[in-house]
Each structure stands twice: as C-alpha cells, then as structure tokens.
C-alpha cells in the first residue's frame, strides 16, 4: 500500500468518530428524523444539537450561528451567493484572492456572470495577502471580502483577525473558508470579526459529506437561501439533516478541540525532520511563508525536475502534485502561478500533507523515495547536466 501523504485532500475518519456515528444508523440506534416531533425524532434532534454545540465551541460561537451543509463547497456557495443576492442593492462588488479554493473562485465566476464585479487580489510571493492592497481595492459598492484562512496547497495562514478589522470598519461582510484550518489553527468568533465561516468535517478526521456555515448573528448577517424546501436550518438550508454525519462532525470537532495542541506539536516535529531531509537535495524550494503556516501542509518544488515524470515515479506514494492533468497538457496550479512561480518550477512541485496517523517512519521512507527518484530524474536530464556545468 502506498504511504498516505494527502491529508489536505481528506483524512481517515477517527475510530472514535466512526463508533459514535454507528449509533445513529441502525434499528438499534437513534435513526429518527431530527425534524420529527415524536420520541425518535427528539433523540436524533438532541444528538444534532449536541453536535452543533461541539462545532460552535471549537470556534467560540453561539450554536444558533451554525448552519449544516454538505461540506465546505456548499458553505462557500451559500455564503457568497447568499450574501451577494441579499445585499446586491447595496453594491455588487466582491473582493477575493487568486489563491482561493475553486469552490470560492468558481462561485465568484458564477456571480460575475450575473453581473457582480469581482476583484482578485494577487498575493505576495510568500502567499500572504498585502493588507494595504486589500484596503486599497475596497470601494463604496464593495459588499463582501472572501479570503481563506489556510491555503490548501501551500498551507499559509492569512491574518484573518486583521482582515476582519478592516472589513468591519468599512461595513463589509467578511467570508472566510476555514476548510483547511478548522481544528488546526485556533478560531475565535468572539475576537475575530469574521461574518461567515465555511467549515468541513472530512479534513479533521470526520466523515465526508458534511460541513457547516457559521453565520454571525451580532451584527446579523443575512443570506438568501439556495436550497428551498422544508425550512430546515432556519430556512437557510432545507433538507433532512444527516444525523450520523452531523454527529460525526461534532465528535471530530470535540476531539480536535482536545487534541489540537498535541497534534500540532507532533506534526511540527515531523515537518521539521522531513523538510530537513529534503534539503539534502540541491535546488529544492519550500513554498509559502514558513512562519505563518500549518505544519501539516508542505509544498516542495524540485527545480530541473519534470512534474509529470515526478508524478509517474512517485506513484508509490499517495501525494498530490501541484498540477492538474488535462488531456493534452499539464497545467501548473493556479496557486503557484499566483505566487509568480516560473511554470517549469511549478511543474516540479509536490504537496506532502500529513496528519494524526502519519508516523515518523512513513515520512523517512517517503523522503528516501522522493530523494532517490528526483536524483534519478535529474541524472537522465540534459537540463540538469547543463545546470551542473553552469551553462543554463
């Protein structure tokens, strides 16, 4: 089995979470519809509300501010489209960043098609947003700023407390996609002026297919619902609640709250040792700001190493390359392009992401495999030879 180093894509469900979820499925369990008013519905509802508290606790919010969704993508859609549609009479300008997840970028594109105007900030070369530039592009008709907390490819942490201070002063809604940061970086809705926060479960050892949107109540943020139906979730997101998924997310968040500090300390050490091994190769670059980053995500570029070949030779590792395969060519990731990285370097980039179940042994093995293969690819490359001879 390949070594799993793709925790930023998804994580295995923690056994403690899976055990809890099992109590809400079968005839022996609490399988009722939480919207039903009888005994079965009530017990399911209690479980849903307990999970809502667990999610709210992790971000220091009120449980009534949590709206269940199918995941962070839906939360991003609901936040952006919902707020844009509600506040469009106030203005039709939105600000986001080029390094956002596609769930935000594509939603913005869809809003542009409706006539909204979107400004896409270019981050600094370290992946962080220039707050002065953000302030400079705010206009009278700006209604919303959407900036992610932790980037999924390079792991940099944006200063959302400062961004929130800027947007609040201007009376603009601040949406933040926290899919990669929840349970890994402390979030506090009492001190951070975030108005809408997208959350997911499956990147923090909960099940896939469940997420939430935090919607601030003080000052109140209004949204137009996208999914209409039975009026669940205060009318913002209709549809029968998936009790077992919700319970799983709640349990995963409760565990994260307990274990975040210990997990981070362990991952920081693993990251340090792994990157130290990578530095044994020449022409290796670690992308993104190394002070403001989560320990679990490492973006590593190998110069003079073809990305597509790297993808092939590292097929014994479950990692992700920073490129998306299309039929005819390989496109370097939009994130690395936004950092201003040369395409040939962006192509030779991998993302190694680690988590709760990654062992030091696995990482040592992975490092050996990566180093050996990069060396071999360079050995057969005329470009590497030119580099060695100083003729490139």
């Amino acid at each position: 089995m390949p070594i799993y180093l793709d925790y930023a894509a998804t994580t295995p469900v923690d056994e403690r979470v899976a055990a809890k979820m099992m109590q809400y499925l079968t005839v022996q369990g609490d399988y009722g519809n939480p919207a039903s008013t009888h005994y079965y519905g009530e017990t399911a509802k209690q479980a849903v509300e307990q999970a809502r508290c667990q999610v709210a606790n992790l971000i220091n919010a009120d449980p009534r501010e949590i709206i269940w969704t199918s995941g962070a993508t839906e939360a991003d859609n609901l936040a952006l489209k919902g707020a844009a549609h509600f506040y469009q009479r106030k203005g039709r300008h939105i600000i986001t960043c080029k390094t956002e997840h596609k769930a935000v970028l594509d939603t913005c594109k869809s809003l542009e098609a409706e006539g909204f105007e979107v400004t896409y900030l270019t981050p600094l070369a370290n992946g962080l947003i220039d707050l002065a530039e953000l302030t400079a592009v705010i206009r009278d008709d700006t209604i919303m700023v959407s900036i992610m907390h932790v980037n999924n490819e390079i792991g940099v942490i944006q200063d959302i407390a400062k961004i929130g201070a800027i947007t609040r002063e201007c009376g603009i809604i601040f949406h933040c996609d926290a899919a990669q940061s929840i349970g890994k970086v402390p979030l506090d809705m009492q001190t951070m002026q975030v108005d809408l926060l997208s959350l997911t479960s499956h990147k923090i050892y909960g099940p896939k297919g469940i997420g939430a949107l935090y919607v601030r109540q003080q000052p109140r943020v209004r949204l137009v619902a996208m999914i209409n139906g039975g009026g669940h979730e205060r009318g913002l997101r209709s549809g029968t609640l998936a009790t077992h998924q919700i319970v799983g997310m709640g349990q995963a968040y409760a565990i994260a709250q307990q274990e975040m500090a210990a997990d981070n300390a362990r991952l920081t050490q693993l990251r340090h040792d792994f990157l130290h091994q990578m530095q044994m190769l020449d022409e290796v670059y670690i992308n993104g700001d190394q002070q403001h980053c989560v320990p679990g995500i490492m973006s590593i570029s190998f110069n003079y190493t073809d990305g597509e070949a790297l993808l092939m030779v590292l097929s014994e590792l479950a990692i992700s390359t920073a490129s998306a395969c299309s039929s005819a060519s390989i496109e370097p990731s939009h994130v690395l392009q936004a950092l201003g990285m040369k395409p040939e370097l962006a192509h030779g980039t991998i993302r190694v992401s680690i988590g709760r179940f990654t062992t030091a042994d696995e990482l040592t093995q992975a490092a050996d495999i990566i180093i050996a293969n990069v060396k071999q690819l360079r050995e057969i490359s005329p470009v590497w030879e030119q580099h060695q001879h100083g003729t490139i």
């Binding site: 597509e308 070949a309 092939m312 030779v313 395969c325 039929s327 040939e344």
Partner: protein, 131 residues
Amino acid sequence: MELFNDKIYQHYLHPQHVGTLDNDDPDVGTGSIGSYGASDVMRLQIKVDDQQNIIDAKYKVHGSGAAIACCSYATARIIGKSLINAGQLTSQQIAAALDLPPARMHCAMAAEDVIKAAIKDYVTHHECAGC
C-alpha cells in the same frame, strides 16, 4: 486521464543507454531538441563506424514519463542499425511499441526528430572532415 502506462514506467525503472558520448570524437553525432520551460528536452548521441553503422548511442531527456520512454526505446532500437535504417524509424512505430497515449504522441515525434538530428549532425561533420 492516464498519461503513462507500465511499458512507459519500465523504461524509467530500467534505464539503459542513459549518458553522454564524447562530443569531440569525429565519429559521434549529437542531436538536441527542445528548450527548457517550453517543451521536453532531448539529446541523443550516436557513434558510427566506417561502415555507417551505429555502434553505440546514449540519450538524456528532460520531460514526462512518455518522453523518457520514447527516448529510451528509440536509442535501444537504433544501436546496431545502419544510419539509413535508423533514419527510417518513425514516430508511429515508437508510439505503437510503447502503447503511447494519444495525448503523448508528440513525445514519439520528438524522439524521431532527435534521431534524425543526430544523424544529420554526424553526416555534416563527416562531409566537412574530408574537405
């Protein structure tokens, strides 16, 4: 979509004929194509005896797995062949031998081109050596 298969991967796992021949040797012809950052880069060198037969060949390649395999296969195929024979190896033959995905056909074309470039380089040198 799949951009490589096991035949392609095997060429990477068992590299043969990777390397460099002495460029100053008058019996060596060197073909180089592509530019870094814009395309795959291939270099193929042939050593030719006075019967016009290729007695050795070496390659280096910077590119996808398919590019590596095309170069490796083409190099192995032309060793022991006459210049005329080697010049007749087509991209279709290379692609067929490796079950190349259609999207990687350009790698086979590059391999055909780099053989032709190496032969041309050798022939040019040799004509000049006599004049």
